[in-house]
C-alpha cells in the first residue's frame, strides 16, 4: 500500500520573499498589472510505503515531524500537509 503526502511550504507572512518580489516585477513589466503580490514557496511530495511499519507511530505525525525538521525552516517558514 502506498500513500502520498503533499506539503506546501510558504514563507511566513512577515518574512521578505526576494523571489516573489522579482517575479512580481517581471509580471508587472509584462503588463499583468492586476497582479498585486507574488509569494514563492516549495511544494514537496513524499511517496510513502504504508505497508512498512511507521517509525513514528502514525503517518500524520511522521510527516509533520519531517516537514518541521527537514523540509522547512520553522524560523521563517510554515507548512500545510495533505495526505492521500
Amino acid at each position: 500500500m502506498s500513500k502520498k503526502a503533499m506539503i506546501k511550504i510558504t514563507l511566513k507572512e512577515e518574512v521578505l520573499d526576494p523571489q516573489g518580489k522579482a517575479v512580481l516585477s517581471v509580471l508587472k513589466s509584462s503588463g499583468y498589472n492586476n497582479i498585486k503580490d507574488v509569494r514563492v514557496g516549495k511544494y514537496i511530495e513524499l511517496f510513502i510505503d504504508s505497508g512498512t511499519e511507521n517509525p513514528r507511530g502514525s503517518l500524520d505525525e511522521e510527516v509533520k515531524e519531517i516537514s518541521e525538521k527537514v523540509l522547512s525552516n520553522p524560523l521563517i517558514e510554515e507548512f500545510k500537509i495533505e495526505i492521500k
Binding site: 523571489q19 522579482a22 517575479v23 516585477s25 517581471v26 513589466s29 509584462s30 514563492v40
Partner: protein, 238 residues
C-alpha cells in the same frame, strides 16, 4: 590587437555581473569596439552590431529558475530577430541559461548534481571547429577554462539530444586534461558532458565555462581567448 572596426554589444540585465569582465577582455585584450545594451533600451534593431554577448551573472537573482525571468524581458524579442537574420550571439553561463529559457537554444539547465555552486577550472574538448565561435581552434583541441555556476547541469529530451547529435550542434564537452570524455571530468552532471551547444545555423552559441576569465596569461589560462579570436576571424573573413 586592434579590432576597432568590429562592433560588439553586451546585454545588461538587472543582476548581470560578468558584463564588465567581458567588456574588459573585448576592449583591453582584443581592442574591439564594445558597448553595453541595457535590457530596457529602446533599440529596434541590432544590425549595427557584429556580435552580441549575453554575459554571465544572476539576472533577476536567478530566482525561480536561472535565466528564466531575463528570458521573458522585452529585449529578447529584438535578440531573436537579430539571431534570425544570422547575427552572432554568444551566451556565457547565465547567458547560456537565458538563451535556453528564451528558446533560442534547446534544452534546460538543472541544478548541479552536487546541488552546490561549483567554481573551478575544467577542460573542454572542441567537437566542431567550423563555427563562428571555434574557427580559430584546432580540431579536438582541449581548452582550460573556469566554470562558476550553480545550475549547469544540461538536460534535454531524447529528441533534442538526437537533434543535437545529428546536426553537430554540440560544440564543447567537458573532458579530462588529455581530452578523454569521462564521468569524472563532468563537473555538474550535464547530459553527455555537454558544456556548449549552438543552434541550427551555428550563429548562436551557449557556453557554461567563462572564456573571458581565461584570456590572459596572468589569470592562469589564455585558452578562452581562442573563442574570441575565432569570432574575430569569422567576422573579418565574412
Amino acid at each position: 590587437m586592434n579590432n576597432k572596426n568590429i562592433k560588439a554589444g553586451i546585454t545588461v540585465f538587472p543582476g548581470s555581473n560578468c558584463d564588465f569582465d567581458v567588456y574588459h577582455v573585448l576592449t583591453d585584450v582584443f581592442g574591439i569596439n564594445t558597448s553595453f545594451i541595457w535590457h530596457k533600451d529602446k533599440i529596434n534593431d541590432l544590425s549595427g552590431y557584429n556580435l552580441i554577448i549575453i554575459p554571465g551573472g544572476f539576472s533577476y537573482g536567478d530566482y525561480l529558475r536561472a535565466g528564466a525571468l531575463a528570458a521573458r524581458s522585452l529585449i529578447m524579442e529584438t535578440l531573436k530577430e537579430y539571431a534570425g537574420r544570422g547575427g552572432i550571439i554568444l551566451g556565457i553561463c547565465n547567458g547560456f541559461q537565458i538563451l535556453l529559457e528564451a528558446g533560442l537554444l534547446s534544452g534546460v539547465m538543472l541544478a548541479n548534481r552536487s546541488l552546490k555552486f561549483e567554481c573551478k577550472n575544467v577542460y573542454l574538448k572542441t567537437l566542431k571547429t567550423d563555427t563562428p565561435f571555434t574557427c580559430a581552434i584546432k580540431k579536438d583541441a582541449v581548452l582550460k577554462m573556469p566554470i562558476a555556476h550553480h545550475d549547469g547541469n544540461y538536460f534535454a529530451t531524447s529528441e533534442i539530444i538526437n537533434d543535437l547529435n545529428k546536426n553537430n550542434k554540440i560544440i564543447f564537452k567537458y573532458c579530462e586534461f588529455n581530452g578523454s570524455i569521462t564521468g569524472d571530468s563532468n563537473p555538474n552532471g550535464s547530459l553527455y558532458n555537454i558544456a556548449g551547444i549552438s543552434n541550427e545555423k551555428f550563429n548562436v552559441m551557449g557556453l557554461m565555462p567563462h572564456p573571458e576569465r581565461s584570456s590572459e596569461k596572468l589569470l592562469g589560462s589564455e585558452d578562452g581567448g581562442y573563442i574570441f579570436k575565432s569570432i574575430i576571424k569569422y567576422i573579418r573573413e565574412k
